[in-house]
């Protein structure tokens, strides 16, 4: 019986797969309508040419000195720390939120999902004002935080993280919920019939099913948090080392030193591009 596996009549999976791959390579591609190329090229140009403009405008001689200035490094460090923190917070709150939306069948699911996606369509500065009116010193909740615990959130690094989480979390929720919907509930049902408690099912089945969406979701959320400006300036203010992230530093520098602002912009572009281009495919493949 021990050797039975090798003598089974099942067709070899490897043979099948490589055969199919070969067929793909030789199959003629379906032709695209030629008309699509022009708007596609214009769309690409619209995205890439402004960045090119930035590159051409940069003072490359002073660039190393500009991007390593104290102000720049302080802002970059703060940006990386807060974006990492808000990505983590998005994960801790947005992960369960995605699971509940995909699996929990809460009442009013459609409305709930639209509300969760609100920050995607809202101007960030509106989000910042909304946070201010909730958690500000005179805000709905903020006044009690101040009164009861002496906690004030505006003008703190916490405020930066909250503002970034506000705008970044929907990206994570959308990615994770999509992954769960694609996977379907059948795996969880099977796990339950195998005797797994809901908590075990969540950790050993649902969470691994989330992984394909997790890579891209985390990267998108991090990138979005890194670029956050409007909500941060409205809710957290701007103070070097505490709340002045790289985008805020850029906005400020362009008042006094355009070359510095351009240099920092390039730095932000480089960091964002590195995150998206390098981390994303690896994160997605790692989940496979």
């Amino acid at each position: 019986m021990a050797s039975a596996a090798s003598s089974t009549p099942d067709p070899s999976p490897t043979g099948g797969v490589s055969g199919r791959g070969g067929a793909d390579r030789h199959r003629a591609r379906t032709a695209l309508p030629a008309v699509l190329w022009l708007p596609a090229a214009l769309g690409f140009a619209l995205v890439i040419l402004p960045v090119l403009g930035l590159v051409l405008r940069a003072d490359w001689v002073r660039l190393p000195e500009l991007v390593t200035s104290d102000a720049a490094l302080t802002a970059l460090g703060l940006s990386l720390r807060t974006a990492a923190a808000s990505t983590l917070l998005s994960l801790l709150l947005g992960g369960p939120l995605a699971v509940v939306l995909a699996r929990g069948r809460p009442p009013g699911l459609r409305v709930l999902r639209s509300l969760v996606l609100l920050p995607l369509v809202l101007p960030p500065v509106v989000g910042g004002l909304a946070l201010l009116y909730l958690l500000g010193r005179a805000g709905l909740v903020g006044q009690y935080l101040d009164l009861l615990f002496g906690v004030r959130i505006p003008f703190t690094t916490t405020a930066v993280v909250l503002a970034q989480t506000f705008v970044a979390m929907p990206f994570l929720v959308v990615s994770l919920e999509g992954a769960l919907r694609t996977a379907g509930e059948r795996y969880e049902a099977v796990a339950a019939t195998l005797g797994a408690r809901p908590w075990t099912v969540f950790w050993r089945v649902t969470v691994p099913l989330l992984l394909p969406g997790l890579g891209s979701g985390v990267v998108l959320a991090f990138a979005r948090a890194l670029g956050e400006f409007g909500a941060t300036i409205a809710f957290a203010g701007s103070l070097a080392g505490r709340t002045r992230t790289l985008p805020l530093e850029i906005y400020l520098q362009r008042e006094s030193d355009v070359d510095g602002a351009v240099a920092l912009s390039l730095l932000l572009v480089a960091v964002a591009a590195a995150v998206v281009v390098l981390a994303r495919p690896r994160a997605v493949e790692g989940a496979r």
Partner: protein
């Protein structure tokens, strides 16, 4: 070699459930250690029934009892969640967890009930060898063929030590080559363990090989039930006959055979309980039908004219579906004959062509009809 199993328990189901465009109302029993096959066409409620037993679907009314435990009771609102039912499910798709190896998949059940990592691994190895898949232990589901994956899924279901095993068309998604091996394996494992099981299928062969009893479902209700061989060999309704792959003609019993409503007589082997003058059915397999272009000579019995309505290729035969011929018997409508492709070509059979069906009397079984 076979792992020990707890003493088998019986299943009692008595439920009602209504969903938009669908209703299920049925009762059934499975004796301890026996296998029940639930036969029925798509949409007859087979999978919903399994969902109710597994606890994945809540019925509107009724009870599910497994051994001494009440799993579902619509009256008191009792609903034991799936993970505490001890009911294993093997579905059409293997649904192996894609992120785990075959062995880890099989070890999932033991781990879930608290068995340590090492011990769960040993249990998994044992069950993998039980389904002839121990060589696949380290593979990922994506590296398994359909048949291999389904064997691992079976090992996984059994390693969880269910007191009841539910099988939802477990061969439906497999290649024709892989299905017989798994069917034989399943028969061996179920019998060796003395397990109580319910298998849902639309293939009478599954029922014949695997089950002791069979229930035929139609539109959410039980149409016929009984010991598997008896029900499938002597169907009493056209519905069951169609599922069993048999042809059935209804009429009344007479001394010469079955008298059809239009006065023709079909000769056949008289089964027990047949009473002359009472409703009866004549049953024969499509392969027992000979097809001719001209009326056969001599004095054959059971010869009647038809018109070819359609031809469907099967595994190694062509199934000819008949329509009633003008002036011929109306009950010939829908009867089938199985022929070799060569015979179809020789006879020049195609839709619309008139032909003659001849059925040997030795192949025709006569049974009393339901309600007789």
């Amino acid at each position: 070699m076979t792992p020990a199993v707890a003493p088998a328990v019986g299943l009692e189901v008595d439920v009602e459930l209504t969903r938009p465009g669908f209703a299920l109302a049925l009762g059934l029993r499975v004796e301890p250690g026996k296998v029940l096959a639930v036969l029925g066409p798509n949409g007859s409620g087979k999978s919903t029934l399994l969902g109710v037993v597994a606890g994945l679907v809540r019925p509107d009314r009724g009870r599910v009892r497994l051994g001494g435990r009440l799993l579902t009771d619509g009256g008191t609102g009792t609903h034991v969640p799936p993970h505490r039912r001890g009911v294993g499910l093997l579905a059409q798709q293997p649904l192996l967890f894609p992120h785990l190896t075959a062995e880890a998949n099989v070890a999932f059940g033991p781990r879930a009930r608290g068995v340590g990592r090492r011990a769960a691994q040993r249990i998994a190895r044992r069950w993998l060898s039980e389904v002839d898949a121990e060589g696949l232990a380290d593979r990922r589901p994506a590296e398994l063929s359909g048949g291999q994956a389904q064997r691992v899924a079976l090992a996984r279901a059994l390693a969880a030590e269910p007191t009841l095993v539910l099988l939802d068309e477990p061969f439906a998604a497999l290649d024709v080559d892989a299905a017989p091996a798994l069917r034989a394996l399943l028969g061996r494992v179920l019998r060796a363990g003395g397990r109580t099981a319910v298998i849902v299928t639309h293939d009478p062969l599954d029922a014949l090989v695997l089950s002791d009893h069979v229930v035929v479902l139609g539109a959410g209700a039980v149409v016929e039930e009984g010991p598997t061989r008896q029900v499938l060999a002597r169907p009493r309704t056209a519905f069951t006959a169609r599922i069993a792959g048999l042809e059935l003609v209804a009429g009344t019993a007479g001394p010469a055979g079955l008298r059809t409503p239009d006065g023709a007589v079909l000769a056949g082997q008289r089964g027990p309980g047949l009473v002359d003058g009472a409703p009866a059915v004549a049953v024969f397999p499509p392969r027992a039908v000979a097809v001719h272009r001209e009326r056969p000579g001599g004095s054959p019995r059971n010869v009647f004219p038809v018109v070819v309505a359609g031809l469907e290729p099967r595994a190694d035969v062509v199934r000819l579906r008949a329509a009633a011929a003008p002036g011929g018997p109306g009950w010939a409508e829908g009867l089938a004959a199985d022929l070799t492709p060569a015979a179809v070509a020789d006879l020049g059979l195609e839709p619309g062509v008139p032909a003659w069906f001849a059925v040997k009397a030795t192949e025709v079984a006569l049974h009393p009809a339901p309600g007789a």
